[in-house]
Symmetry: C2
Subunit: 333 residues, 2 copies
């Protein structure tokens, strides 16, 4: 007999039984006759009763663990394959995953919203770390591909430096003379200012002085990759080997090359970053710097585990792990 909302008490009253009996009926418990069970279920349905999952979880002292996952986009298979790996790691432990993407949205606001529903949040963040930690309201944060600089933030980082150096060396030994880079414009240029990514910085460190500035910034999508390639070739016609920020953009670039009659890898070597399995079905198959998503997910889950199940006083200000990408040579380079 309440205002807007129907509680267990309302159902009990309407059915002429007690709270506990309603619980028994709803949850399929014993100690209830078939007759009353059906009666209760029917009146519950008629009233449109939906149990409060918050009250239920609280009272039952349930220990469900759910972790928030914040991705850059769900339209890039890299992110969703990472999500798949995380799910594989985490589902056997009975954890659940709350998914979100900051494609067009505010990083920090997302974390704030998620913090009420998740026990930990891991993901690709772009916002200010202090803001993020504040928004998290005490729930542990694990960021990927970016080192943690404030307390309360943890990280699993991808060490591009060594990998990209090796990658470029191998490319040189395969005949590469002049490199170019198609870089991502994330975080988007509108509003915020563009900041060079870690991948770009690693590239510039090892590409050699003449190639370090052969960089174009493009949208993080297939179209963006294609667009980036035409701009790169216009500005630096002598580039014979192009490294692309990620595989999705690399696919766009390869398609564009084909459209423009540029032979890959004959006229132009193309190599992406991520290691998408879909790159293998391109023609030619896409060479790529593969990021071990399974390891990434496992490390992230492990950090969360440490943070949540660890000793009473949390271990360190920040716990960080590292993952090493490795080249996956296919025909495109």
């Amino acid at each position: 007999m309440s205002g807007g909302h129907i509680t267990i008490e309302d159902v009990a009253a309407a059915a002429g039984v007690s709270r506990q009996t309603v619980t028994r009926a709803m949850n399929g418990m014993p100690e209830i006759s078939q007759r009353t069970r059906e009666l209760v279920l029917r009146t519950a349905a008629e009233l449109g009763y939906r149990p409060s999952r918050f009250a239920s979880n609280l009272a039952a002292r349930r220990k469900v663990r759910s972790i928030g996952l914040v991705l850059g986009s769900l339209r890039n298979p890299y992110y969703t394959e990472l999500a798949a790996e995380l799910l594989d790691v985490v589902t056997p432990r009975g954890w659940q995953v709350l998914m979100a993407s900051h494609e067009q949205g505010d990083d920090v606001a997302l974390v704030a919203a998620l913090s009420g529903q998740a026990d930990a949040i891991v993901g690709y963040f772009i916002g200010d770390e202090t803001d993020l930690v504040a928004a998290a309201r005490g729930v542990p944060l694990v960021q990927v591909e970016r080192p943690a600089t404030v307390s309360g933030m943890h990280a699993v980082i991808v060490d591009f430096d060594a990998a990209i150096e090796a990658l470029l060396d191998e490319l040189r030994s395969r005949g590469a003379r002049r490199f170019g880079l198609i870089e991502s414009s994330m975080p988007p240029e509108d509003g915020r200012r563009y900041r060079p990514t870690r991948r770009r910085r690693s590239y510039e460190r090892f590409a050699g002085p003449d190639s370090a500035d052969a960089v174009v910034v493009a949208e993080e999508s297939i179209r963006g990759g294609a667009d980036g390639l035409v701009r790169l070739r216009a500005k630096h016609p002598d580039v014979d080997t192009v490294v692309v920020f990620n595989d999705l953009m690399a696919m766009g670039a390869m398609q564009q090359a084909q459209l423009d009659g540029v032979a890959v890898p004959g006229d132009l070597r193309v190599v992406g970053v991520d290691g998408l399995s879909l790159g293998a079905v391109m023609s030619p198959p896409l060479s790529t710097l593969s990021i071990d998503r399974r390891a990434l997910a496992a490390e992230a889950a492990d950090i969360v585990s440490t943070l949540l199940d660890g000793a009473e006083p949390p271990p360190q200000p920040s716990v960080v792990r590292t993952v090493l990408p490795r080249p996956l040579w296919r025909a495109s380079a």
Copy 2:
């Protein structure tokens, strides 16, 4: 001063303040001095206090809505693009999405686990509807691509019949003489028995008597598609047009064709189902029967909305919507 678990009361005691003050500190509320806020925050961190989100949501009468999404796999871009669309539809309303896949797992168990955390569950289900509804424990269920036959189950279905008839007609007019189908083996053959999918049944209805049995069943993956094609061509060498269960498998089939020196679309027309944007970067670009994922997601969200925010007595036993696929002609057929 509890057993294993640290509550707000413990923090209050340790800091020498009251519950409410701890709340104020944790949630950044006013009416608290900077000094005590820091004190509380520090002791909370030292104790490893993590507020119970259940108690918090209950007491604050928060109306967070989270909906569970059960997909076949997160490694198939079709599913994740659907997830992306759902997120786009649902995030502006402030809803959150709990993601899961039944790749190797039990359908019904998943719903049971999710039902404690979600206000509604939508997805691709394969289990028995009655079991699913029972496992949902009162939370509304919306299944995709399968009509609802029991009360408590709702559906948004994809009408393949008309679309596949039109598709095959057009293919015939483009010269197709003999069709073949690469069908999915989901639900997996191990344990459960294989059941023909709706897509297969629509195909068999319109492929003509001589093509209705030119069907091979393969795993739902790139490799599966490739494997399916070799088996299909071995058994039915005269097939000149192959319809593939989904785009992912179709990509595998196309790659296999290329490996076997079969020209597409010259020797063999290939057409998939789903409408993946990635199909466009294949060479040749993949023709496909496109499913409008945005509409699908919107309909599902709308059903959930109706169910949850609707009048006290829920509308009908089952509410169902329909989405029409449409052909997307690219070069592969």
